[in-house]
Subunit: 342 residues, 2 copies
């Protein structure tokens, strides 16, 4: 494994000069630089990142903390972030954060507290102050993408407004018997994404003088997955008497599950039941699902660019003020919603 000394010797310069030539920092005669680069090329020299990190304090590595890999939204964010990081010459270290418990503490206290990453992007998780502190106290910036992290900058869509828009869509179609399938945790974690979506739903319902309809309260929490939506849907739609004519699902995956439940129960969509989802899942088009689109892959990229900016990686073009909160969403109407049955 060639070291910088080998390059220097071959190029007939000192290690200092070789280092400057290769890194582009400091003065080096053009001709010398060429000679050094050639030498490096010739022997296949690649600088040891560990040695470099040790002296610069920079690792060229960003940690991504994420609660799931296997849900559409998160997978997209991860792919977007990975691509952006790679093209900036950074590694991505993945921390798949379990919801809580000792594993979670270990990620913060052991893994992230070491100096292995230059920054942390926390995707869709709600961090507490201590967790944020563990990271920032070591001088590493942290960015929350969705989710919350007290004291840390945040990049997010306006979940509350967007959920309001979804609800409004149903109301405008003349629905009055509307239910909401909230994401699990909407009732507990007060400022969570799920809670904001539920709040947005309730905003518009109240404004329209409506009350959620369904079993038991018109707002049912569902695991944010297709099976979660399916069983919540069965529960919601199982009682013919109290059945809503429209449902706002907190995610497209929940919505797909409700569609499946409706199919099982013989409830026609959209004629007997309108369904609107949230996310812009890649299957939404195929299933004709009306939804609030957001753009997670783009969000992942944006998060990386923001962090690169912080780290002084000269992404001069990124206008943080413009790129900032709230991120883009869009109502896309398809065939799963229609006017209320009369």
């Amino acid at each position: 494994m060639p070291a910088i000394g080998d390059v220097a010797r071959l190029a007939g310069v000192s290690k200092s000069t070789a280092s400057r030539a290769l890194s582009g920092r400091g003065y080096v005669a053009e001709e010398t630089r060429l000679r050094v680069e050639e030498a490096a090329q010739r022997i296949g020299y690649i600088a040891s990142p560990d040695a470099a990190s040790l002296v610069t304090g920079r690792t060229k590595n960003v940690g991504v903390v994420i609660p799931f890999v296997n849900r559409w939204f998160f997978g997209e964010v991860l792919e977007g972030a990975e691509r952006a990081l790679l093209s900036a010459g950074y590694d991505l270290t993945l921390y798949n954060l379990a919801i809580g418990g000792p594993e979670r503490d270990r990620v913060f206290d052991f893994f992230l507290a070491r100096k292995r990453v230059d920054a942390v992007i926390a995707v869709g998780v709600d961090l507490d102050e201590r967790e944020v502190d563990t990271i920032t106290s070591r001088g590493k910036p942290i960015l929350a993408l969705g989710g919350t992290a007290p004291g840390a900058p945040r990049l997010a869509i306006d979940d509350r407004a967007a959920a309001g828009l979804a609800t409004q869509h149903l109301i405008q179609l003349g629905h009055t018997r509307i239910a909401h399938l909230a994401g699990a945790g909407a009732g507990s974690a007060a400022r969570s994404v799920q809670a904001m979506r539920t709040a947005g739903f309730q905003d518009r319902m109240s404004a329209a003088g409506l009350v959620p309809v369904g079993e038991p309260s018109g707002v049912i929490e569902a695991d944010m997955t297709l099976p979660g939506g399916y069983s919540a849907g069965l529960q919601l739609l199982g009682h013919p008497g109290a059945r809503p004519t429209a449902v706002f699902a907190a995610s497209d995956e929940i919505a797909f599950g409700v569609m499946r439940a409706a199919e099982r129960l013989g409830i026609a969509v959209p004629s007997a039941l309108s369904i609107i989802g949230f996310d812009g899942h890649e299957h939404a088009e195929l299933f004709g699902l009306t939804t609030i689109e957001q753009y997670p892959e783009e969000q992942g990229r944006l998060a990386v660019e923001t962090v690169m900016e912080w780290l002084g990686e000269g992404y001069g073009e990124v206008d943080l003020a413009t790129a900032g909160v709230p991120l883009a969403t869009r109502l896309v109407v398809r065939s799963s919603t229609t006017a209320a049955p009369r």
Copy 2:
């Protein structure tokens, strides 16, 4: 940021002793060890992994090369690997490998060639010799999980046999008009997973004296996604005359797409069309999909354990001979397959 010197001073020992006490390597008096550990604890000392790596040559980091994050199989593998790595005290660096091109070269020549990882797990990708070489020539072991990597150890299910089993299931149900929706690339990359599944299909068809049925050849390549299966399904099932009575889809995601296509075309499943998938997708049960299950999360864990064994991390319990090829699969019969219509 406290360094080991601070710990040593506080404990009243030398840095050498502090290092030994903390790492557990070499002799240290029990009483001394306690004192050092206490000191470390007190000032919140965490060893710099960069400095340690520089001298030991070990990074406690494993690179995972994976073509997709957002497909069920890959997401599961990733989660399984991540969990196992974390509990072994290792970081996971994610390389989301684009199918080819300069990005891909960059991952091998720049990212993986540096000494940032102790080993590489390549999931579901087909590496060429040069790529394997870049890694092994730097003294780093590489493990192929599914996919292929010439010269590198491989952990995989027996795709060919398992695909044969799926086909056999349809044949035993009395089907003679059987089609196969292959994964894209089955025809080109000779030893790929997709090709093996197609080969397994053809093995059994020939053995039964059957010929694939459908449009145009009875074997259609589909993108291994739900939309991919949908459009291939539409193509396959669109001509009422040449329609098969059973389909073996190379993945559950393709199978879901075919189910959707059948629904669109008004073809009843399973009475008019039996469908069997491959993978054991988390939604298979909900959709009543008969499939060949495999266990990707477990596979990810197993891959990590194998690599840990190589790295001497004392996973003594793992019996590589037993854990080895081929990994477990199982035929799970649900409601998407039934006897051939007569």
